[in-house]
């Protein structure tokens, strides 16, 4: 779960990381009010959960409160990469001497957290990593031992940070580490961390991603989820414990198991179609879950056919078929349904479905071809 910049910075502040003064505004009038409180000059920053908002014109400097109101009006009417801007952060404007990147993430391959830092801050770290990897220091942290002070000092030395900033930099790095660990983040990033002209370190921008699997122990963070930023169908799917991701194609997929669901999308493409979604309906494929999944798939107007691919292992094929039929009676789909059932009692299940006028298939290749043909005929 991604957090907004203002949410991330509020968390950082709790760990002693200095952030600019500022508040969130949902209207231009509120933005003006905040700018006035900050003394006029302010930065107006769109709060959307996608990168590239600066390039899109979503971050602007206002010289006074009146301009803050004008810019907030503009930004609040923008869409950035398809996401409408509903909130702006109004921050005091800082004068910047130097920009630093400081972030902590999970290094999958090393199976450890890694702290990354670079004196080339302010741009995307992936970009720095591609073009000038020598400008990035990576420090792995023992997950049982935690961050040691010398490691933070090593980073300060690598960054050529003047000695008078070391103490403050180490405190910020330690604060970021605690924010990362205590909030079960998969990413905690300050970009840029700046040295201001009045010689302070300040976290101008912040980003956190929280591990969805850890939200059970962070009810406060779970409440921060901005459902406005998710596709409505994905929000609906989450309610039913279904894993659904919308794509751009025309063939809806309902599959039990994530790996099999990906393989089903791939084979649709292989036979000349385009998958409309990823959907893992889970183990048993019960009537209730299938019905919910089907409603979600069909809420996408691009869907011209639906392909079911269910492997009946411990759950028998006839039981799965009965569940599908019950769900179809409830949902009454308007597009052709192609169903492939394999595994235990699959033959019986297939017969039940064929009698109910479903298009059935024995192999995945056959099912994919039939679904592609059915979608093209629509």
């Amino acid at each position: 779960m991604k957090l907004h910049e203002y949410q991330s910075k509020q968390i950082f502040a709790r760990y002693g990381i200095p952030i600019p003064r500022g508040r969130i505004a949902e209207t231009a009038a509120a933005a003006r009010q905040i700018a006035e409180e900050l003394g006029g000059r302010a930065v107006i920053k769109a709060q959307v959960l996608v990168g590239g908002r600066g390039k899109a014109g979503g971050v602007r400097l206002a010289r006074d409160a009146q301009e803050a109101e004008q810019l907030a009006t503009q930004i609040l009417s923008m869409e950035i990469k398809g996401l409408p801007v509903r909130k702006v952060l109004v921050d005091e404007a800082a004068s910047i001497e130097q920009e630093i990147y400081l972030g902590i993430t999970n290094d999958r391959a090393a199976r450890k957290p890694v702290i990354m830092a670079s004196a080339a801050g302010g741009v995307e770290i992936e970009e720095v990593a591609r073009q000038t990897p020598e400008k990035i220091i990576k420090v792995h942290v023992d997950p049982l031992l935690g961050l040691r002070e010398y490691q933070a000092r090593d980073i300060a030395v690598f960054l050529d940070l003047p000695r008078e900033y070391w103490r403050s930099f180490i405190a910020i790095t330690q604060g970021l580490w605690r924010a990362y660990v205590e909030n079960d983040a998969t990413l905690a990033e300050i970009n840029p961390l700046v040295i201001t002209r009045d010689q302070r370190l300040l976290a101008l921008d912040g980003k956190m991603i929280i591990d969805d699997n850890a939200l059970f122990r962070h009810p406060d963070l779970a409440e921060m989820r901005d459902v406005d930023e998710d596709a409505p169908a994905e929000v609906e799917a989450r309610k039913y414990g279904l894993s659904y991701i919308k794509l751009d194609g025309s063939i809806g997929c309902m599959v039990n198991g994530a790996g099999l669901a990906m393989a089903t999308m791939d084979i649709i493409k292989y036979f000349g179609g385009e998958p409309a979604n990823f959907l893992d309906v889970g183990g048993g494929a019960s009537a209730e879950k299938v019905a919910a999944a089907l409603r979600i798939i069909l809420s996408d107007p691009n869907v011209k056919a639906v392909l079911f691919n269910i492997f009946g292992g411990i759950t028998r094929g006839d039981v799965v078929a009965r569940g599908i039929l019950t769900a179809l009676e409830e949902v009454k789909p308007r597009v052709p349904m192609v169903i492939r059932l394999v595994g235990t009692n699959a033959e019986e299940g297939r017969q039940m479905l064929a009698q109910a006028n479903m298009i059935t298939a024995e192999t995945l290749a056959e099912a994919a071809q039939k679904a592609v043909a059915a979608a093209k005929a629509m």
Binding site: R108, D211, D212, I245, G257, G259, M262, P275, G313, L364
Partner: protein
């Protein structure tokens, strides 16, 4: 021969009295697996299926029954503790079925286990099946027959597909290992390939990977350097969009890394036959 589990496995089930634990214990016993003990704290002294004693702790269960493998069916919030408990009780092989363990917990678990030299399979995996000998997990027993193909996979039902397709062609498996769909797990593709390379019963290997991470690329390096047995692979997620988690916590293309195309290229470059769709896997294996 086989790897990891066989008819001599003495299995302990952690979370044996829960819904999942009880259901799959019944299935494992029916398959012929020696389930010697169960653990549910607070239910010590009870019996499951009239013959499996339940203990309050793993340590007590190990002392009383000589269990040498543990399978974990406890909810995600308790699973890391269950793994630590099994490791501290001296269990050398732990299989964790549980899905949804926080990734930072798994980093701590993995580091602790590495120091103890304990092998963990999973989490978020279907477990192990040595057809005809032992089922330690949730892989349906009736979809596979004994044979000479070793299978290692990050997936569940996709693996069942392959086992079943092989069975329909009369081809059996030595052992099927589900290493799980999480970003940090206990056992990698390379670990399992190494075991299959050494196992005399295994003559061919099927590797089923998916998007996310670089475990398949490392497997390719190992195959080039050390593997003499033929490997057939399949990688799921060629149509997966970047930045989206495809069901499994570990199935995500991040910062342009972990794509199916990269993995397929790495495997093909070292002579691995990569199937274009799942049904082709059994076809290629049959013709090897």
């Amino acid at each position: 021969m086989s790897i990891l589990v066989d008819k001599n496995t003495r299995l302990l089930v952690q979370g044996i009295t829960g819904n999942e634990g009880l259901f799959h214990t019944t299935q494992m016993v029916a398959y012929g697996t020696q389930v010697v003990a169960g653990v549910t704290p607070g239910k010590g002294g009870e019996w499951v299926l009239d013959k499996i004693p339940v203990f309050d702790s793993v340590k007590m269960a190990v002392e009383a029954t000589g269990a040498n493998t543990s399978i974990i069916f406890v909810p995600a919030r308790f699973a890391p503790d269950a793994i630590f408990e099994a490791a501290d009780a001296g269990i050398p092989l732990i299989v964790c079925i549980t899905e949804g363990i926080p990734v930072q917990d798994m980093m701590r678990v993995r580091h602790y286990l590495d120091q103890k030299k304990v092998r963990l399979i999973g989490p978020n995996c279907p477990g192990l099946l040595t057809p005809g000998e032992a089922k330690v997990g949730i892989i349906p027993g009736n979809i596979a027959i004994p044979g000479n193909v070793g299978i290692v996979s990050r997936s569940g039902t996709l693996t069942y597909e392959v086992l079943y397709a092989l069975k329909l062609r009369g081809i059996g498996a030595s052992t099927c290992v589900g290493i799980g769909g999480d970003p940090i797990n206990g056992t990698s593709f390379t670990d399992v390939l190494e075991m299959f390379e050494r196992d005399p019963q295994t003559e061919k290997v099927v590797l089923i990977g998916e998007i996310g991470g670089t475990d398949e690329e490392r497997a390719a390096e190992f195959i080039a350097a050390r593997m003499t047995k033929p490997v057939v692979a399949f990688i799921a997620g060629q149509t997966a969009p970047p930045g989206k988690r495809m069901g499994h916590a570990g199935a995500i293309i991040e910062g342009g890394a972990g794509t199916a195309a990269d993995k397929i290229r790495a495997l093909q470059a070292v002579g691995v036959r990569v199937a274009r769709h799942p049904e082709e896997i059994a076809e290629i294996v049959a013709n090897l």
